[in-house]
């Protein structure tokens, strides 16, 4: 087991109250596995991922939990050691590659920086390695592109450069925070293929954060669904797509437009909106939007329970779905 997260909670302490962005989340990841973390915007996916390397922006902070990475608890290691893990053992790529690259330096400069930091390469060797990495991410004419500034590259190229930076230290885990959201569809496909290719090549696990079910279907082996800071369903990709157990997951899958579905069947979303984190509904936070809710749903949040050997669900009514 590469990563094991136990009872992780990350709260934001605002003037208006405590915002529980990640609330008692537990999950695990195996080596070379791709786990997708899905959910609507603002459900705590990104904060959960940032919590892993303790990078939550203030006034947020991890309030409890344990994060075992390679058997070490990342929340109790020294700051120095955590720094070595970041970018060393855990790489990260971002939603908007254009703003995640420093505008005043060349791509090559930024890759060389990581290589010197984590692999201790000398300058000229790091430069050669940077060209190799750019080539590995499928950037044409890498010798020329190392000297390019971020604004001279297209969005797809920028994302490739960012991926090159993330894989430069040969990480065990790659956190991909909406890697394709800011790109157009053809480029999305290329980036997804690239990530899959690199995953095999470098034997790394990928934690994929996305709300794009298409990308999930392409890449993930397992899927975790998040809602209001909690994981509400966890299953293998096939199980999840074939037979969602949580009404929220069902709603998510139903809201994907399908070609050839015919005009008779209208596209149905999930009624209502994501609730305000500061005044969450009582009981199951999904109950106001749920067609099955009744009785106990209003009183207590359902625990995430094993419903078969391979999957978990946090719903009292899952047998009805």
């Amino acid at each position: 087991m590469l990563l094991k997260v136990e009872n992780l909670s990350s709260y934001f302490f605002l003037d208006e109250g405590v915002l529980k962005a990640v609330d008692d989340v537990s999950f695990y990841m195996d080596e070379e596995e791709t786990v997708a973390l899905v959910g609507e915007s603002g459900c705590g996916k990104t904060i959960a991922a940032l919590s892993l390397i303790n990078l939550i922006p203030s006034p947020g902070r991890v309030v409890q939990g344990r994060i075992f990475f390679n058997g070490e608890d990342l929340l109790s290691v020294s700051a120095e050691k955590l720094r070595k893990v970041r970018g060393g053992k855990i790489g990260m790529i971002f939603q908007e590659p254009g703003v995640a690259l420093n505008p005043v330096f060349t791509i090559g400069h930024q890759i060389v920086e990581v290589l010197q930091l984590h692999r201790g390469l000398e300058k000229h060797r790091a430069e050669a390695e940077a060209v190799r990495l750019l080539a590995a991410t499928g950037i044409p004419e890498p010798e020329k592109r190392v000297k390019a500034y971020p604004f001279e590259l297209s969005g797809g190229m920028q994302q490739r450069a960012l991926i090159a930076i993330a894989i430069s230290s040969n990480p065990r885990l790659l956190i991909a925070d909406e890697p394709t959201t800011a790109l157009d569809v053809t480029i999305q496909k290329e980036i997804v293929d690239l990530l899959r290719h690199l995953q095999k090549l470098y034997k790394m696990a990928i934690l994929l954060i996305t709300h794009d079910m298409g990308v999930v279907a392409e890449m993930a082996t397992r899927v975790m669904v998040m809602y209001t800071g909690k994981i509400i369903e966890e299953a293998s990709k096939e199980e999840l797509f074939e037979e969602p157990k949580h009404p929220y997951t069902k709603g998510l899958l139903r809201s994907i437009p399908r070609l050839g579905a015919g005009h008779k069947e209208p596209l149905r979303g999930i009624p209502g909106a994501v609730p305000d984190f500061l005044s969450l509904p009582s009981g199951c936070t999904f109950h106001p939007r749920c067609e099955y809710s009744e009785g106990f749903c209003f009183k207590k949040f359902p625990p995430l329970k094993d419903i078969t050997y391979t999957r978990k669900c946090a719903c009292y009514k899952h047998y009805r779905i």
């Binding site: 922006p57 703003v99 505008p103 920086e113």
Partner: protein
């Protein structure tokens, strides 16, 4: 064919031992002429002041040593650069520059600004003259002989700028004064900008309580009137050039600090900072390698402005008699001496005043040019 080319290359390389000749032959005229003119002037200076040049090395004055060493080293550097650059041009490793890096683009825009280029030349020449003052000066700047005979002589062949109330050669004094005034300006700004940048970036990056404490301290320093602080310090310690540099430097860093802090407050929220943290870069390196370079160009502009202001401040203090003390010449105290004789001998005050005005104006124009070059949007706003 190949052999002929090789021999041509060797001849060119040999020729560029006389700096600039190779460049001119290769069609890089302006660079070649600059190198050639500078080297010829320097060599002429050595022959013209041969006695003085030799005597420097028996001398104990640091200023004289600096002048002589600067001359020798700059000449050697010219020769070395000339040969290296011609070799580079010949081997063809210089690609037709695709001007694209922000720095190159800024340099190109800067070159288009004629006023800024002229002021840059004025400033560079002033500094060279200041450094070489001991070799250039025809008289000892503080030698007083036969005062009644030589005082208040109007400009003449012997004294191109005239003489002052003690019969001292004003040209020589202006040259030495340039050294004092210019070095005070540059070094004080160097202190102010580097300290202010570090201080402001720490404050802005860490934020919260650190920021609060550091910025309140800045408020205290701003609230304290610099002039009285100076008066007090000069009263306690003896005013020297070095001391004046320290005081001016350490009382004027607050503007830079506040500016950098503001920039960092916004830069640190941008995602590339988060990305830099995610690759495990320590805060020290995030600040120095990622954030400060992003905030640097306005600082550069204000630094150029500040040099002019510092030279003015030094002159003002010396004029009032609390800066550089006579007989060490600085433009400020020369001005102060001249004011008493304005009706008898106008040149005593006019010359340092004109030099001051020219230098400060040059720095202001340079700052203007830098701003236009570094921030093209500002240039556009000006035309709209």
């Amino acid at each position: 064919m190949k052999k002929r080319r090789r021999s041509r290359d060797l001849i060119l390389l040999g020729a560029s031992l006389l700096p600039g000749v190779g460049h001119i032959a290769l069609g890089k005229r302006s660079r070649g002429v600059r190198l050639l003119v500078y080297s010829i002037l320097m060599v002429l200076l050595v022959f013209w002041r041969w006695e003085k040049f030799l005597s420097v090395f028996q001398n104990k004055s640091i200023g004289d040593w600096v002048a002589a060493l600067f001359l020798i080293i700059s000449l050697a550097a010219c020769v070395a650069f000339s040969v290296w650059d011609v070799n580079r041009l010949l081997s063809g490793t210089v690609k037709k520059a695709q001007e694209k890096s922000p720095f190159q683009l800024a340099r190109r825009r800067f070159k288009e600004n004629r006023l800024a280029i002229i002021s840059l030349y004025v400033i560079v020449i002033m500094y060279i003259i200041g450094i070489l003052a001991p070799l250039l000066a025809s008289h000892d700047p503080s030698a007083i002989d036969d005062v009644l005979e030589t005082r208040y002589q109007s400009p003449s062949r012997e004294h191109p700028f005239g003489t002052d109330e003690f019969g001292r050669d004003l040209l020589s004094r202006s040259l030495y004064g340039a050294r004092v005034s210019l070095s005070v300006g540059l070094l004080a700004v160097l202190i102010a900008v580097s300290f202010g940048t570090i201080y402001g970036s720490v404050s802005g990056y860490f934020g919260g309580i650190v920021d609060n404490v550091l910025m309140r301290l800045v408020d205290v320093i701003i609230a304290f009137p610099t002039f009285y602080l100076l008066l007090m310090l000069v009263g306690i310690f003896e005013a020297s050039v070095f001391f004046l540099i320290l005081i001016l430097g350490f009382t004027s860093w607050t503007g830079t600090a506040r500016f950098i802090r503001g920039e960092l407050l916004s830069l640190k929220e941008q995602q590339f900072t988060e990305a830099a943290r995610a690759i495990g870069l320590p805060s020290r390196l995030i600040i120095s390698r990622h954030l400060i370079p992003n905030a640097m160009s306005p600082v550069l502009v204000s630094a150029a402005l500040m040099v002019g202001a510092m030279i003015g401040a030094e002159a003002g203090l010396s004029f009032l008699g609390i800066g550089i003390r006579p007989p060490t010449p600085s433009w400020g105290n020369m001005l102060s001496q001249g004011k008493d004789a304005l009706l008898v001998a106008w040149w005593v005050a006019f010359i340092p005043g004109a030099l001051l005005a020219m230098t400060i104006l040059s720095f202001n124009l340079l700052a203007d040019g830098l701003r236009d070059a570094l921030d093209p949007k500002a240039l556009m706003r000006r035309y709209i």
